[in-house]
Symmetry: C2
Subunit: 268 residues, 2 copies
DNA sequence: TGTAAACTGCGAACGGTGTTAACTTTGCAT
DNA sequence: ATGCAAAGTTAACACCGTTCGCAGTTTACA
């Protein structure tokens, strides 16, 4: 197997402290490829993200891209990783903007930023959270960049939840009132992420997360169009309910409901 | 534009009462194409559903399929329509199996059957409810078979909700306590489907539907794998909560939790 | 400095895809 | 029997991912 872009991103490989000029050029090219691919994704849809199309826009030929990625699928997976990183970054920014201690504000800010990003980058969101990717089997034993980033993403919201619980715990059901089959899974998950939380709290967090991401996905994928033009009020309603269940106080979004409709949404 | 399979399904076209032998043969071929395509979808994944692959398995050549469908996309859309029909049928069966008047039972049966179908036909579910289809723009003004079926599907759950409300109304918030922006949308939707229900009830129904389909989608698409091996207990928990909000009484599923895991899941 | 190795691109080619066009065969109706 | 439309074929086009061999450049090292 040839050197992959994932390996290329590992700048400190082979004990070298210095980043050679070659590596810098290479990283720049990888970045340009990603940006070009993403631009095509946004402008022309996922099935237009073709090796030849990317290369064409870069003034190259398709086989040259194989110097940077082992396959088309790996290129997509790399982009998915980048997208996770971007999303996590924006969520962190949104969280940190809220004054420390205001857990309700942090939760609302993160949730709203998640929906905002999803709607502003719907094509990208489809790549991350749509039906499982074309060749996403990750048949390799290799760590899988995208999966790693996905885990970091899951960790973000969970750490927010953790902080929330530590600062303002809310009443939860005792462990022995949880369905045994579910209890075991929750215990396993708790051990896996290494936190000390009542299982009832973890269950509550998962429920809230499912409502959040489930609702956003339906909205972004257009599966609420049959009834709603603008799902934002429903989203806010859900935030209020979810917040209440977590012992938080709901406050409406700072700006009035944004115009929202009529974004360019280029491409066919 | 050539005669499409959708038109072919319209057996009573052009004043002819009799269904000619030719039309019967044609319909049979259309059915065989659909079945072959679906088999490939299930066994080898969505990107293997290729005109040439379908034709090969039928002992034909790819261009022959153009006698029955205007394009690859239209063939997929036809299958989507069939899938909606199948899903709606199974949901109706599940609902009618429950003794009349037991609205809680009907709601639970329909919800569980929805999840069961989604999990047993995950590839198909991805086609119906994943990120918007490849070429699904429906740029034509034509009614769009798939969209029509989708509407029937939405109508099914809504009619179940309607019956539920009529038999056992539950307290809802008055219209003037609903966010104005949402209120207008709900009113529009109510007029569109032609029912007479308080807007608060419609809002509640939509919320429940979002939780239902959102949760099932996350599960089927594997976006809960980060924490759960088997999402069924969480699904049941959600059913209990949603049912409570609708004034229904929750009862656990009739059979013990099915083995569930380890279905063949053929193909790569 | 000279040279070997590594890197990066190109062009051609292979098998596969959707799609179109022209051509043959088939079967039914007048 | 003749004619015609449906249903199938083959050939071809443009595009796709991917592989291979070759050239040009850049780097590393003796």
């Amino acid at each position: 197997m040839r050197r992959s872009a994932f390996a290329a991103a590992d700048t400190k490989g082979r004990g070298g402290v210095a980043e050679s000029r070659r590596d810098r050029l290479r990283a720049a090219t990888v970045r340009e490829i990603s940006e070009t691919a993403r631009r095509i994704l946004v402008e022309q849809g996922p099935e237009a993200v073709t090796l030849r199309a990317i290369a064409r826009e870069m003034g190259m030929t398709a086989p040259a891209l194989y110097r940077y990625f082992d396959s088309h699928g790996e290129l997509l997976r790399h982009i998915v990783g980048d997208l996770y990183t971007e999303l996590v970054g924006e969520l962190w920014d949104a969280i940190e903007t809220v004054p420390r201690g205001d857990m309700s504000g942090k939760f609302l800010a993160a949730s709203r930023q998640f929906r905002r990003w999803a709607r502003a980058n719907s094509r990208e969101y489809g790549l991350l959270f749509g039906a499982p990717m074309p060749g996403n089997n990750s048949e390799d034993d290799r760590p899988d960049f995208a999966a790693e980033c996905a885990r970091r993403f899951g960790g973000l919201f969970m750490s927010l939840f953790l902080e929330l619980w530590q600062k303002e715990p809310f009443p939860v059901v005792p462990d022995d009132e949880i369905d045994p089959g579910l209890r075991d899974q929750l215990r396993r998950y708790r051990d896996q992420i290494g936190v000390t939380l009542p299982l009832g709290a973890i269950r509550q967090f998962l429920q809230c997360w499912i409502r959040l991401q489930g609702g956003v996905s339906l909205d972004v994928f257009g599966h609420l169009d049959f009834a709603l033009d603008d799902a934002e009020p429903m989203f806010e309603l859900m935030l209020a309910e979810v917040g209440a269940v977590l012992g938080l106080t709901y406050t409406p979004p700072p700006d009035g409901p944004p115009p929202d409709e009529g974004r360019p949404e280029a491409g066919r």
